[in-house]
């Protein structure tokens, strides 16, 4: 029985790992387990800024999915083809506003900016996230249904925020930075999204980035915990043994 325990544990842990991936628990987290980033290809612009070297054109992405009931829902990842992708969307097949069994085409397309944002300048391309069944547009489903959208920054200094174009103007949405260069948001609607950099010199330019601060904090916490553990163990070692352990008391 003891011989089988590692095999059972291996099967369980492996199943949990794969289920986490397929269930979307890990999002678009990078599957390199050593903390070293892959080299990124230069950002591909739809409309390159003046003076910038021409790159290959940005790619679009399309995937056809079948809407499912919640019980048989799958997580779908659609990403553009750059390395790493410049835009991606993660959603559940029960999260689309169409009857189960409907075939829906989900698209990510780089598009020209519909209007300049008031809060700054667009960093990279505007990406249109859309879904359609035939010619009819399909949105996200019931209230609370969200899709996870991710955009890659160009590497320009500053802390960009994802903004969504609502038909008349750009509006900022809650944004999470995924180091080193991805930004993500959970959105309950599709449409045009872009990263927007604040105007003027970037705040904190030249200062430490979030990754550096996080590294120093994590390192300091581990250093303190480790140091305390070490001191504790060394102190216990030097404590004299109890009287009973030293032998019989003297008369």
């Amino acid at each position: 029985m003891r011989v089988r325990r590692p095999a059972v544990a291996t099967a369980l842990a492996g199943a949990a790992l794969v289920a986490g991936w397929l269930g979307g628990l890990f999002g678009a987290a990078p599957p390199v387990y050593d903390g070293l980033p892959l080299s990124a290809e230069p950002y591909r612009y739809l409309q390159p800024p003046p003076g910038l070297a021409t790159t290959a054109p940005p790619t679009s992405a399309t995937k056809t999915v079948t809407v499912t009931p919640q019980a048989s829902a799958e997580t779908i990842d659609v990403s553009t083809a750059e390395a790493p992708p410049q835009a991606s969307i993660l959603f559940s097949t029960d999260g689309l506003a169409a009857p189960a069994g409907t075939s829906v085409v989900v698209r990510i397309t780089p598009v020209p900016p519909p209007a300049p944002p008031k809060s700054g300048r667009i960093d990279g391309n505007v990406y249109q996230f859309s879904a359609s069944a035939g010619s009819a547009p399909v949105g996200l489903g019931a209230a609370g249904t969200v899709a996870n959208l991710e955009l890659r920054a160009t590497g320009a200094p500053g802390n960009p925020t994802i903004e969504r174009f609502d038909g008349t103007s750009w509006r900022a949405v809650p944004t999470t930075h995924v180091p080193p260069s991805e930004y993500t948001t959970d959105s309950n609607s599709l449409g045009d999204f872009a990263l927007v950099l604040p105007p003027g010199p970037p705040p904190g330019a030249g200062g430490p980035g979030t990754g550096v601060v996080a590294g120093i904090v994590v390192g300091a916490v581990l250093l303190v915990i480790g140091g305390l553990l070490w001191i504790l163990r060394r102190t216990r070692r030097r404590r004299p043994p109890p009287a009973a352990a030293r032998g019989r008391p003297r008369r």
């Binding site: 390199v32 387990y33 915990i225 480790g226 553990l229």
Partner: protein, 184 residues
């Protein structure tokens, strides 16, 4: 000094403190910088050596466990999407990755495993090393990668336990990282 560092008591504390020092040093130099990654790997290996850890000859089935471990780490990304090619030079990147993998595995599932497992048992040792594995990756990947790194840490811990040797999770970790060139 060496005797104090290599004593059985306090080894775990020394190793955790050394891990913290290495993480902080890497972040100051630049977490994504290959030179920082090499410094990180060297610090982890030196701390492990100072703690008294020494390499041992792996058992006969270690490579089988290593292959199973690598398959588990890459299965999810493979099932989710088609592999893609990354630009740039694989060779230099792979050398740095190898050094970091060796440093991480030697400290976490080598020296720290040896220090903790007799006192805490297998389950708790897998838990502690998985938690540290995840925390170490926070500065570069952010909190969003924590669930994946915790699960990967547990998986590598189970492979370490099942194989009885550090070589198996190290091989799994290394092959999965190399595969990341096509999967990330």
């Amino acid at each position: 000094m060496t005797a104090a560092l290599t004593g059985q008591r306090g080894r775990a504390g020394l190793l955790v403190a050394g891990l913290g020092l290495a993480v902080a040093a890497r972040s100051v130099v630049g977490a994504a910088d290959p030179r920082a990654a090499l410094l990180f790997a060297a610090l982890l290996t030196v701390v492990s050596w100072l703690s008294g850890w020494r390499p041992a000859r792996p058992g006969p089935a270690w490579w089988g466990w290593g292959l199973v471990g690598a398959a588990g780490l890459v299965a999810g990304p493979l099932l989710r999407g088609a592999p893609r090619w990354h630009p740039g030079g694989f060779g230099g990147w792979a050398v740095v990755v190898t050094a970091v993998v060796v440093g991480e595995e030697v400290l976490l599932r080598g020296a720290l495993w040896q220090a903790l497992q007799p006192r805490l048992g297998v389950a708790a040792t897998i838990g502690v090393t998985a938690a540290l594995f995840a925390v170490v990756h926070l500065p570069l990947y952010g909190a969003r990668a924590l669930p994946l790194d915790v699960m990967a840490g547990v998986w590598l811990g189970v492979i370490r336990w099942g194989s009885g040797t550090l070589a198996a999770p190290a091989m799994a970790h290394l092959l999965a990282d190399w595969a990341g060139w096509w999967l990330a």
